[in-house]
C-alpha cells in the first residue's frame, strides 16, 4: 500500500538525502530533494544530477549524501544520461537480468535545464523515457556566482546583468519552461513550491506513478543569489505562489489544473521587496518597472485561468 502523504507516516520514512551535504545554510534545494525522495519513498529510485550547486555539494571525494544510486555526468546532459540508465533497465528487464521495479528521477538546476541542458531534456522527453525530470529553479547560475540564466526573472540583478545606470538588471522576459514542456505533449507536467509541500509531494507521487516522461518545475529560493535572509526560503516560496509569480498547476494529458489558487492574490511588490536582487526597482523613478512586472504576472495568471477553463472537464470545473 502506498505510504500516505501525511507528516505522521512520512516521518517514519528514511531520508534518502543525508545531512552533512555542503549546500549553503538556508538553501531550498536540499529541502526540495528531501521532499521529492520522501514522496517517492515507496520506490527504489536512481537519481541523476547535472553539474551545479546540488551536484558539487552532495558528492565530494569519498563522501556522498545520496542513499540512492546517483549519477552525475556533465552540465548539459542529465536527461540523456538518465535516458541511458532507464534504457539499460528496460534492456536488462527484457533479458530477465533484473526483476525489481525502479523509478528514474533527474534533479537539476535551471541552468542545466532551461539553458545548456535544454536540448538533452527535450530529446529525452520526446523519446518517451519513463523518467521524472525535476528542475530546482533558483533563477540563475548560482554555483558559478549568480549569473543570469533564461530562468532569471525580468529586471533581476545578477553578476552578468547587473543593475546599472543604463541596463536595469535582466532586460528579457524569463523563459516559461513549464509551458514549453507541456507543449511536448507529456503525460504530466507541473509547477510546485516547497512552501506548499503536500501539493509538491502529491505531484511527485502522481508523476512517478504515470508511465512515460514527466516534468516538474520546482521553485527553489537561493538566499545567496537573491540577497534575501537565509531563513526565508519557505516564506519567499509562499510569496511567489500567493503573488502568482509562480502559479501552482499541473498539465495532465492536456488538461490544465491550477492546484492552489490564492484566496487573495497579493501584489508582486510583496515578493520583490524581500529580495536584494530587486532592490534597484525601489529607487525613485523606477515605479513603472514594478508596474510592468505586475502587468506581466497578471497577464500570465489570466491566461492560465483561461487555459484551465478551456481544458478542464465541465464536471470537474463546476465543483
Amino acid at each position: 500500500m502506498a505510504t500516505p502523504l501525511n507528516l505522521k507516516e512520512l516521518s517514519k520514512q528514511e531520508v534518502r538525502f543525508t545531512a552533512g551535504h555542503r549546500m549553503c545554510a538556508g538553501c531550498a534545494a536540499p529541502i526540495v530533494v528531501k521532499m521529492v525522495l520522501l514522496a517517492a519513498c515507496d520506490y527504489s529510485v536512481v537519481v541523476a544530477s547535472s553539474t551545479g550547486c546540488l551536484e558539487v555539494s552532495s558528492c565530494i571525494s569519498t563522501y556522498t549524501a545520496w542513499k540512492v544510486p546517483w549519477i552525475h555526468n556533465a552540465f548539459e546532459n542529465a536527461a540523456a544520461t538518465l535516458s541511458g540508465v532507464e534504457t539499460m533497465y528496460k534492456a536488462l528487464k527484457k533479458r530477465g537480468k533484473i526483476d525489481k521495479d525502479i523509478k528514474f528521477i533527474a534533479i537539476c538546476g535551471d541552468g542545466g535545464t532551461y539553458d545548456i541542458g535544454f536540448q538533452s531534456l527535450s530529446g529525452a522527453m520526446e523519446r518517451g523515457h519513463d523518467m521524472l525530470y525535476i528542475c530546482y529553479d533558483n533563477g540563475a547560475y548560482m554555483n558559478t556566482g549568480i549569473q543570469r540564466s533564461s530562468a532569471t526573472p525580468t529586471f533581476a540583478d545578477t553578476t552578468t546583468c547587473p543593475a546599472g545606470a543604463v541596463i536595469p538588471g535582466k532586460p528579457q522576459q524569463r523563459k516559461d519552461l513549464t509551458r514549453i514542456m507541456a507543449a511536448h505533449g507529456l503525460p504530466y507536467v507541473a509547477q510546485a513550491s516547497p512552501s506548499h509541500w503536500p501539493d509538491l509531494m502529491k505531484k511527485v507521487r502522481k508523476a512517478i506513478e504515470i508511465q512515460g516522461p514527466k516534468f516538474i518545475n520546482i521553485f527553489t529560493p537561493c538566499n545567496r543569489g537573491w540577497r534575501s535572509r537565509n531563513d526565508d526560503a519557505i516564506l519567499l516560496s509562499r510569496l511567489a505562489v500567493e503573488t502568482c509569480f509562480w502559479p501552482l498547476y499541473e498539465v495532465e494529458d492536456g488538461v490544465t489544473r491550477i492546484t492552489v489558487k490564492p484566496k487573495d492574490k497579493k501584489p508582486l511588490i510583496e515578493f520583490l521587496k524581500a529580495q536584494g536582487r530587486f532592490k534597484h526597482l525601489f529607487e525613485p523613478g523606477k515605479e513603472k518597472m514594478i508596474e510592468h512586472l505586475q502587468e506581466m504576472i497578471d497577464k500570465n495568471w489570466e491566461s492560465l485561468l483561461k487555459e484551465e477553463e478551456m481544458t478542464l472537464p465541465k464536471e470537474e470545473g463546476n465543483k
Binding site: S44, V45, V46, A48, E55, V56, C59, I60, S61, T62, T64, W66, K67, V68, P69, W70, I71, H72, N73, A74, E76, N77, A80, T81, L82, S83, G84, V85, E86, T87, M88, Y89, K90, A91, L92, K94, R95, K97, I98, K100, I102, Q119, S120, S122, G123, A124, E126, R127
Partner: protein, 393 residues
C-alpha cells in the same frame, strides 16, 4: 564454420554488433557512420537482436546516454564520425574517467571547416588523449575483428575502459570487400556474458557516480588512472591470441611488414597501409630493403615496442592522414619521434601529410615517398622535414 561474404566495412561492423548483441546502443546519424547504425537498427526492428536502441538528438547525447547505460550495468555501444566525435569530446573524458567499457567504432572523416565528408584521421586523432583505447583497422576484416576484440578489451576486469575502433570513411566503410564472418555462437562465446561492476541498478547497494574531487585528491586519482593504461597492451595481446584460435587471424600491437632487415621504413595507419604494402613488395623485388609498420593499438601507444622495431632503420617516413596545425608535425609522427628519441641509434625521420578530406593515396604517392627515402639514405640530406604530398599544383 566461417562464412565468406562480400560486404561493406559498415555492414561488417554492424554484423559484429548483431553477433555481440549489446544491451543498449545509442545512435545518431553522421556520414559515413550512418550506414552502420542504420543496418544495426534493422536487426533491432526485425527482432534479430534484443538490443534497446536510443535514437538520440545529438552525438553529445549519444555518448551521454552510453555513459548512463554503462554505469547502469550492461554492455553498451555507439558509433560516430568527424563532427559527431568532436561534439562528444567533453563526454569522451567522462566515459574514460568513470572507467566505463563503452565500444565505439569511429568511421574516420575529416573535420570542418571546410566541411568535408570524406576520409582523414583528424577526428580520432583529436580524441587520442581522451583516455579511450584506440584500435585502428586497415580493412573491413580488421574492423570486424577489432570490433569483436574491443568488447573483450574494454570489459576486462583489469581495464574497464572505453574503446574506439577506427576505420577509414568511404574507403573502407562503403567499399565492398571479401570478409570472413565467424559463426554467431563463436562470437557470443568469445565475447562472453557481460560482468557488471558497481552497477547503478543495484539499488540495494547504492553507488554515487561522478563525484567532485578537488586539489586534495584529484592528482592522485589521475595518477591511479594513468596506471591502468600500462595493463592495456598485455590484455590486447592476450585477447588477440584467443581471437587467433577462433579465427586463424593473427593480431599484435602493430603490424611489422618486411621490417626486420629493412633500411628504409614507412609508418602509416589504416587503409593506405594496404597500398603501401603493394609498393613495398615491388621495391623488395627490385632489391630495395624497405618495410612498413602499421600501428594497431594507437592508444595507449606502445612506445618501447615501436621504438625497438624501428631503431635499426636508416631512414623513416611517417605518413600522417591528419595534420597538427600550428607549425607542428602530424600526430603519428610525434608519437614515432617520441618512441625513438631515447635510442642512440635511430633513423633519420621525415613526416609527410597525405590524403586529407578523402584525397586518394595512390601507388605513385607511396613510390614517391620510397624514392625520396632512398635518396636520403644515400646522401643523408633531408630537403624538407615535413611536407604535404599529393597536392594539386
Amino acid at each position: 564454420m566461417t562464412k565468406v561474404v562480400a560486404v561493406t566495412g559498415n555492414e561488417a561492423v554492424a554484423n559484429a554488433f548483431r553477433q555481440i548483441e549489446p544491451d543498449v546502443c545509442a545512435a545518431y546519424p553522421i556520414t559515413p557512420q550512418t550506414e552502420l547504425m542504420q543496418r544495426f537498427a534493422a536487426f533491432v526492428s526485425n527482432g534479430q537482436v534484443r538490443t534497446e536502441m536510443i535514437l538520440v538528438e545529438s552525438e553529445h547525447s549519444a555518448l551521454s546516454a552510453c555513459v548512463g547505460a554503462a554505469a547502469a550495468g550492461g554492455r553498451v555501444a555507439t558509433a560516430t564520425s568527424s563532427q559527431g566525435l568532436a561534439l562528444m569530446w567533453e563526454i569522451l573524458f567522462i566515459a574514460s574517467g568513470l572507467r566505463l567499457p563503452i565500444v565505439m567504432p569511429v568511421v574516420n572523416r575529416a573535420l570542418s571547416a571546410p566541411i568535408n565528408i570524406h576520409c582523414d584521421h583528424s577526428d580520432a586523432m583529436g580524441a587520442r588523449d581522451s583516455g579511450w583505447i584506440q584500435l585502428w583497422s586497415e580493412n573491413a576484416q580488421e574492423a570486424y575483428d577489432n570490433t569483436i576484440q574491443a568488447f573483450r578489451i574494454a570489459e576486462d576486469m583489469n581495464i574497464r575502459l572505453p574503446v574506439m575502433i577506427c576505420y577509414d570513411g568511404f574507403i573502407i566503410s562503403h567499399s565492398i570487400e571479401r570478409i570472413e564472418y565467424l559463426d554467431d555462437d563463436v562470437v557470443k562465446n568469445f565475447v562472453g556474458e557481460y560482468k557488471p561492476l558497481y552497477p547503478l541498478l543495484d539499488v540495494e547497494n547504492p553507488k554515487s557516480y561522478g563525484p567532485l574531487i578537488l586539489t586534495d585528491l584529484y592528482h592522485e586519482v589521475r595518477k591511479a588512472h594513468s596506471e591502468v593504461y600500462k595493463k592495456v597492451p598485455k590484455v590486447v595481446i592476450e585477447v588477440a591470441k584467443e581471437f587467433e584460435k577462433i579465427s586463424g587471424r593473427k593480431y599484435e600491437l602493430f603490424e611489422n611488414y618486411r621490417l626486420d632487415d629493412a633500411e628504409i621504413g614507412i609508418v602509416i595507419l589504416n587503409s593506405a597501409a594496404g597500398t603501401t604494402k603493394d609498393l613495398i613488395d615491388e621495391y623488395r623485388d627490385r632489391g630495395v630493403k624497405v618495410g612498413l609498420l602499421k600501428p594497431r593499438l594507437y592508444r595507449p601507444f606502445p612506445y618501447e615496442e615501436v621504438g625497438n622495431a624501428l631503431k635499426n632503420l636508416k631512414v623513416l617516413c611517417v605518413l600522417d592522414r591528419a595534420d597538427a596545425f600550428g607549425g607542428s608535425f602530424g600526430p603519428l609522427y610525434l608519437d614515432i619521434a617520441a618512441s625513438l628519441c631515447n635510442f642512440s641509434q635511430k633513423p633519420i625521420l621525415i613526416n609527410r601529410i597525405y590524403g586529407l578530406g578523402g584525397r586518394d593515396f595512390m601507388p605513385e604517392h607511396a613510390a614517391e615517398v620510397i624514392e625520396e627515402l632512398k635518396d636520403i639514405a644515400k646522401t643523408g640530406k633531408i630537403t624538407k622535414l615535413k611536407e604535404y604530398i599529393g597536392v594539386r599544383e
